[in-house]
Amino acid sequence: MAAGPHWAAVTFYAVDKPVERGARVRLGSLERSIMEALWEHPEGVLAQDVAAALTPRPAVTTVLTVLVRLVDKGLVSRERQGRAHLYTASMSKDALAAEAMRAALADAGDLEAAVNRFVGTVPPEVAEALRAALADRESS
């Protein structure tokens, strides 16, 4: 794909925090930059305007590829306007964070292998017993 180099450039520079020189190129930050651009424009934006809002400017085709993926995943919705599409974020930033948290807290069942949780939720009496056991050990 001709847009390849842009991709790498974008993923490197679009990180919202300053990254040390030579840090590993972070995957997924183009998605984040695009979502940030959409959250700033709740009225909807065209793909080329999203591209223009990012520095350095990625190819419009690259932005479109990511937007289509985000639409497929339900994070972005689009609406036809003339010959182009107007893109809007379908969830607020807070709602998205809540959704990610829910995934970490909910009982995964058959999808248990998709996420490794550090600890699950336990009844209060179990939590209390464990706290007591730890305190016991610390004082001994």
Partner: protein
């Protein structure tokens, strides 16, 4: 007579599986040797699966292993299943359907898990903020949460609440635990057991394995995280990270609770007796279990090699 013995050998893991499964799930040595216990579970699963296939094949032919070898030739020569009674055809069908059914569930579980991992990664990429110093992803949110989305580019995710709660040493222990899951590809270890539970949910041994294996994987990650570190750091982290009260009575609350209790217990109390033989016995049993089904399945092949024609 020959096929009776062969069937018995092939079926041994299945027959023993149920009883062994319960003992294994509650055994004290398993929490001291989680890796050996996991290998034993894998052997039980594999031997059980191969045994079920082998038993079907053995029941389908009169004289084992030459019967199977003859049947192979007959099918290759285009004479199909001529001369086989309905019982033998049924046994043969069983030997074909069991692996197909297992394969179907394995593919289904894998596809669903990989899709969910992708979705989780995307959510994390968009909603979380990357911190380069620890290479972690931080979600805004006050409830303490730590998890890892496994994959070739795994992401370790913590909530802001978790970061506030944990001391630097506890955080290091939590990260080491999550990275141990990611590096060990524990998702891939667990997947076959999820597939097995989906394929044969009515088998008690399968259900026991399905709930016991995740606990062992947690213990393996705990042990890995504690290398060169005070075991109490991780114990403190677990106790601090537990979110009490909000427990929405899970599907199997008993075992999940027991798992956390067991994990903390084994971190708090340094191993009193290191029973080396327990691990060795587990690995030995695993090999012994595999022998029967493998021999039954390999015998016809050896037969073709030794007596061709």
């Amino acid at each position: 007579m020959g096929w009776l013995i062969a069937t018995a050998i092939a079926m041994t893991p299945i027959l023993l599986g149920g009883r062994m499964a319960e003992r294994l799930a509650t055994a004290a040595w398993a929490s001291r040797h989680p890796r050996a216990a996991l290998v034993l579970w894998q052997a039980i699963g594999l031997a059980g699966g191969l045994g079920a296939i082998g038993a079907g094949l053995v029941a389908a032919v009169t004289v084992f292993p030459h019967g199977l070898h003859q049947l192979g030739h007959q099918v290759v020569d285009g004479r199909g299943l001529a001369g086989l009674g309905p019982v033998r055809v049924a046994a043969l069908a069983w030997a074909v359907v069991v692996p197909a059914w297992l394969l179907l569930h394995t593919v289904r579980a894998t596809v669903r898990t990989v899709a969910e991992q992708r979705r989780q990664r995307l959510l994390v990429d968009v909603a979380a903020e990357h911190r380069a110093e620890h290479d972690i992803y931080v979600l805004p949110g006050s409830s303490p949460v730590a998890y890892c989305v496994p994959g070739s580019t795994a992401r370790v995710v913590l909530s802001r609440g978790a970061l506030q709660l944990l001391s630097e040493r506890e955080l290091a222990a939590v990260l080491a635990h999550e990275r141990a899951h990611a590096r060990g590809r524990h998702d891939r270890v667990l997947l076959p057991f999820i597939a097995l539970a989906g394929a044969f949910p009515w088998l008690p041994a399968v259900r026991t394995a399905r709930s016991a294996v995740p606990v062992l994987l947690e213990m393996i990650a705990d042990d890995r995280a504690c290398r060169g570190r005070d075991r109490l750091d991780l114990a403190r982290a677990i106790v601090h990270m537990i979110t009490p009260g909000s427990s929405p009575v899970a599907a199997a609350p008993g075992l999940a609770d027991a798992a956390v209790v067991q994990r903390v217990e084994r971190l708090l109390h340094a191993r009193t007796t290191t029973t080396r033989w327990a691990g060795a016995a587990a690995y030995g049993t695993a090999i012994a279990l595999m022998m029967g089904p493998v021999v039954v399945l390999a015998a016809p092949i050896a037969c073709v090699v030794i007596w061709p024609g």
